[in-house]
Symmetry: C2
Subunit: 332 residues, 2 copies
């Protein structure tokens, strides 16, 4: 088959011939129509991820049709369109993944290929209201956003929510998942355009985090946020702590700006804040995400679509950070 293979670090994957995957007894092979990029894929190409092995087929998100099943797998998918929960071997504890947990697309070969093998328990029917591109864009961002917002963030309709760094795939998905709850949503970005886009989508307003002390303005306008979803780390987390209302919750699902800077413990304890780490999601989170997306007819924002042969352009786009929403690969 054809696959986009990462053979060396500090380079992008290259399309080449690759062995067809063979399912073990509890696995299936999915023939993919579309895949989607995540920032994780980019970090891996930069060597900034634990446990990198080369060569590897990257890619955590994919949609397609089950083509082959292992001997122990009943096939309930009836040749229908499926997507893959990219969190493998979560385990039994809803609070935290097991030590066996891994994300599809490293160390196992992922979805930037014509076919991928995955455990049968990770295969779900794709929501019918989504196009193939949208379905491919959903799994990793959807489950990460859902867990951050609902399971860890405990979103309530009366919350005033801030999503920092709108534009990335997960942050945009957080916005989309939060809107139907009726909560009041605000965003931050370094880009006026992305804020304007978020407001079009339904956000109440936004703040340029590049303006020093933006949180003072935010506090003045809003009175502070009861729930903040942050993936910035760096200076972003300290700013989030300033922008939080008393007894607020801050969910941390990323750290694109690196180590936390300028965070004052007194702000955390005096305001009685909760800071909660969240990554990926359990099978229950994934199923609840699919149900919420289906119920509210949520359609992931697709930034752009490239063919598998254009995989380098897709990586250029995610590296540039100008995108809003998901970058999709069309495979067949």
């Amino acid at each position: 088959m054809k696959a986009a293979v990462l053979t060396q670090l500090h380079a992008f994957p290259v399309v080449q011939a690759w062995p067809d995957p063979v399912p073990a007894e509890s696995e299936v092979v999915v023939r993919l129509s579309h895949a989607a990029l995540n920032r994780r894929d980019y970090w891996i190409t930069r060597g900034l991820y634990p446990g990198i092995r080369l060569p590897v087929v990257l890619g955590s998100d994919g949609v397609g049709v089950v083509e082959k099943t292992g001997s122990a797998v009943a096939d309930p998918w009836h040749n229908g369109r499926v997507l893959i929960n990219p969190g493998l071997f979560w385990g039994d504890d809803p609070r935290v993944q097991s030590r066996r947990f891994e994300v599809l697309g490293l160390p196992r070969d992922g979805t930037f290929a014509e076919r991928v093998v995955a455990p049968a328990e990770n295969i779900y029917p794709a929501p019918a209201h989504l196009s193939d591109e949208e379905a491919a864009a959903l799994p990793l961002a959807g489950v990460t956003a859902y867990r951050a917002l609902f399971t860890r963030g405990e979103l309530q309709p009366h919350d005033r929510v801030l999503i920092t760094g709108i534009g990335g795939g997960v942050a945009t998905m957080v916005l989309q998942l939060a809107l139907p709850s009726g909560a009041e949503i605000w965003v931050t970005s370094s880009s006026e355009e992305k804020i304007a886009r978020a407001v079009e989508m339904g956000a109440r307003g936004g703040f340029l985090y590049t303006e020093k002390g933006w949180y003072k303005q935010a506090l003045k306008h809003t009175g502070g946020f009861s729930l903040i979803i942050d993936s910035g780390g760096g200076r972003s987390l300290a700013d989030a702590v300033e922008a939080a209302d008393f007894a607020g919750r801050i969910v941390i699902f990323g750290g694109t700006q690196g180590p936390v800077e300028g965070l004052l413990p007194a702000r955390i304890f005096w305001k009685q804040l909760d800071l909660r780490g969240s990554t990926m999601g359990s099978p229950a989170d994934f199923e609840a995400m699919l149900a919420w997306v289906t119920q509210h007819r949520i359609r992931p924002v697709v930034d752009s679509v490239f063919s598998l042969d254009e995989v380098e352009k897709a990586f250029d786009r995610i590296a540039g950070k100008a995108h809003m929403g998901k970058i999709v690969l069309s495979i067949s």
Copy 2:
């Protein structure tokens, strides 16, 4: 009356004559036999506290007898020994103090005096098993430790607990409150002597946080902590995050080492950690603390006792950080 009055910053309080306090209608005057120092008192003398006004009588902790009551106060204390909940005007929300909240001893005059005035609702009978010195040592450290450990930390008997910076009044009280739960308790300190003392008291063991990478040893010995109570901030919080087990809770009640340093967001989200700020406690926390202390016959560790006239020596002792437990003032 006689009081230890702070008249200027970067100096210690000076004993002088001071007007006798007069109770408003819902207040009482307590004639104090003993008071106790808290690190807060020291921070205030260094100018490191918001809203300082001078001159002021410092002191949040005291034990004594109700001598005078406001017109709206029924006196249920029958001339018995009382102590004061130093958290005034918490309000109705158990999650967080109201904007009116203040701590006795700034801006209101506190307990380093022969008499103090306080709201009647903050007066409680002192547990009978405590000496006057121990009773004076209990309130602020007790309620802060109780809320951090139980209300915010949700201590369970199966927890493996780490208390960082053992020796301070609150950290020592956290150890004492935690021991009867049956949980396994570990400590950190910069002093072998303090670790040895904590082990005598019932801790399983300890680690010198001055040794770089101590948390690796801790992880190897224990497998990681499900609950960490930290008041260090600075490098201490990042180390705590390393030492935490997956799905662990870290309660932050102080930041003696200043702004957080070297904290990696990825550690927080990958381990699905909870970081929870906690300060002081609600009236319900205070009452539950008194009940727990009474039930388990817990006696606060008294480091040393000075007379009110020796107040400068008492401040020297808290400034030096060699103490283990509470520094008490004997007043009458």
